[in-house]
Every structure is written in structure tokens, then in C-alpha cells.
Symmetry: C2
Amino acid sequence: MARTTGSHSDITGPRIRAAALRLFARHGFAAVSMRQIAAEVGVQAGALYNYIPDKQSLLFSLMQSHMEELLAARAAQDVPGDALARLEAFVRFHIRFHLERRDAVFIAYMELRNLSSENFAAVEALRRTYETTLEQVLQDGVTEGVFAIPDIRIAARAVIAMLNGINTWYRVGGPMPLDAVEAVYWDMVRKAVGG
Amino acid sequence: MARTTGSHSDITGPRIRAAALRLFARHGFAAVSMRQIAAEVGVQAGALYNYIPDKQSLLFSLMQSHMEELLAARAAQDVPGDALARLEAFVRFHIRFHLERRDAVFIAYMELRNLSSENFAAVEALRRTYETTLEQVLQDGVTEGVFAIPDIRIAARAVIAMLNGINTWYRVGGPMPLDAVEAVYWDMVRKAVGG
DNA sequence: GTCTATACCCAGATAGAC
DNA sequence: GTCTATCTGGGTATAGAC
């Protein structure tokens, strides 16, 4: 018979993170209480502090993990090749990765102002690194003569902003297959950079 | 000599709205207290309730006003003409309007989940109406044969998302003139729709 | 219309028993 | 590692004097 009290260190930690991710995404960091998170996990509020030093560290940890997973996945995905193919791969990767992690993506964009300045700087550095991986592809394409882009940095931001917009309206299981979404956005991105 | 207490109904109301707009944009709706707003205005918290029924009505009112001003400005700006010119006008209008009202724009996009379902529906309808004014231009351009767009609705959303991204990085008074920003984004939008 | 005072409730975080 | 109990502070909103 299961104990209702005792040691659960290896499962409670991840469950706290999962519950916080869901609740922060749904209601916002400031609107979610530690007691709500604890209730979702099935422990008392005080028990959370065996796993996290405070609420804000929990937020930062969630954002940092998300960004690091994003960067790792991006690094594994960006294989050598011509710039046009690499840009298409970026677009499709970005769409899929971000649709698979809506909660984390939502938090990463909406809760930046709830980070301390040091934590903000750390997350911002990771975000900037991701942006740079796209800039590199765009720059290579310009060098190869296949892209026509007046401002690389702005173009990278514009592409990412455009793709991030998908999360606000696309519903998995809806009428439009993911492949079709990718194709439509890839068409627009390709044209926008003159490819 | 100025009274420190008494009647100020015609100035206190707007000051409450201005303070709330600024504080909500900076710290988030849930993180801002009525006491903070009152302190910013220079009254006690209880006095706020002479002007607003509750905190959420204040948020809704700010968002609704913003969207209505946006729609009014858009209606005044969209003059007849060829689709390419109207699209350029939309892009330049959207950029300028949104950069001039960063706080309201930020709130309108970030605080939707803090609205009651009725209030959310009202704001969403206004947002959708704005989106439709862009769709109309895109549709006209396709009909005229000057645009090549696989999906009008997605294209409109993509353009708006791309342009909204400007607010996250552009700083008025920074190294880049507004004209240059408009030109770069117009170049990308024009190409993206095949114009 | 604004004030003071307060009702009522919940927040984050900690202490010490088990 | 989790519990119960609690500290301390602050939240929205209202009541009634001025």
C-alpha cells in the first residue's frame, strides 16, 4: 500500500516543475500561489521548499531549462549544407519545437519581467544565442548570393517573431495539418529573404 | 493654494488610467496592487473605487479603449488605391501606431488571460476586426494579381506578428531612424506576399 | 470625492515534530 | 521528506466620517 507520507525526492521534484509550468503558463507567474502548485502536486506548500529556494528561482529554472533544450535541439539539427536548405530546416524545426512546448514557450516570452536582473540577463543571453544561429544562416545565404537582406539582425528577429505567432492560433488536431502550416510559413520566409 | 483633499473628478479618472497603464505594462496586471496605483496617483486606495468598479474592469477598459483607438486610426488611414500602396500604408501605420503606444500594446497582448470570458470575447472581437482590415488588402491584391498568397488569413497573422516584434527591440532615439525600420520591414512584407 | 479604518482573505516563507 | 502550524506582510474591496 502506498504511503501518503515519506520520501519521494526523485519524483516530487519533476512533478513540482511540471505543475508550475502548467500553472504559470495558464494563469501567469504572479497569479499562481505556492499553495496552488503544492495542491497540484499533492503535497503541502512547505514541502516545495525542499526542492526550490524560492518562487522566483523556480521560474528561472524553468526558463533556463527551456532555453537550453532549445539550443541543444537546434545545435543537433543545424547540419552543413546550402543556406536555402538550412533556412528551411530552421523554419520547420522552430515551428515544431515551439508547438510541442507551448507552456514553456509562453512562459519564456511572458514572464521575463518577473526575473531578477541577473536571471533576466542569463535568459536573454540564451535567447540571443538562438537568434544568432539564425543570423548565421542568413549571413551565409547573403554571402552565397542566394538571399537579399538589407539587415541581417532585423531579418532574423522578423522571422522568429513571425513564426512565434503560430503558437497564438494553431491548434494541434485542428483542421490544418502541421505540414501545411510549415509549408505556408516557409513560403513566406523564403520570399521575405529573397530566396 | 492647492487643496490636498476635495473634488478632482475630471482629472483623477484619467490619472488613474494613466498610472494603471504604466504599472500594468511594467510589472504585469497581477503583480500590481490597487495601493500602488493609488500611490502613483496620489490618493488612497479606497478613492479608486469612485472611478472603477473593480480592478479587472480597469484592465478591460484600458484594453478596450486601446483597441477602439487602433480601429479608428486604421479606418481613417486606409484610403482607396491599389493594393500594394495600401499594404505599404498599413505596414507603416501599424509600426508607428504601435511604437507610440508601447504600454497599451504590451498590455493588450500580455494580459488577455486576466480578462473574464465576456471581456476577453469583446477584446478578441476588436482584435479580429483589425486583422480583417489587413486581410481585405491582401485579398484585393490577390484579386488584382499583384500578390501571391497561399493563405490570406495566415498571411495577415504572420505580417502582424512580424511587425509586433519591433516593439521588443526598437528604441526611439536609438541608432536607427524610424523611417529606416519601416523601410526594412516593408521590404520583407512586400516580398513575403509576392508583391 | 477623498479620507481613515478595517473586514476578510491569502501571499511567501520558516520552524520543528514525525 | 513531508507534515502542521505559524509568522509577517499585503491583497481587494467596503463603511462611514468629513
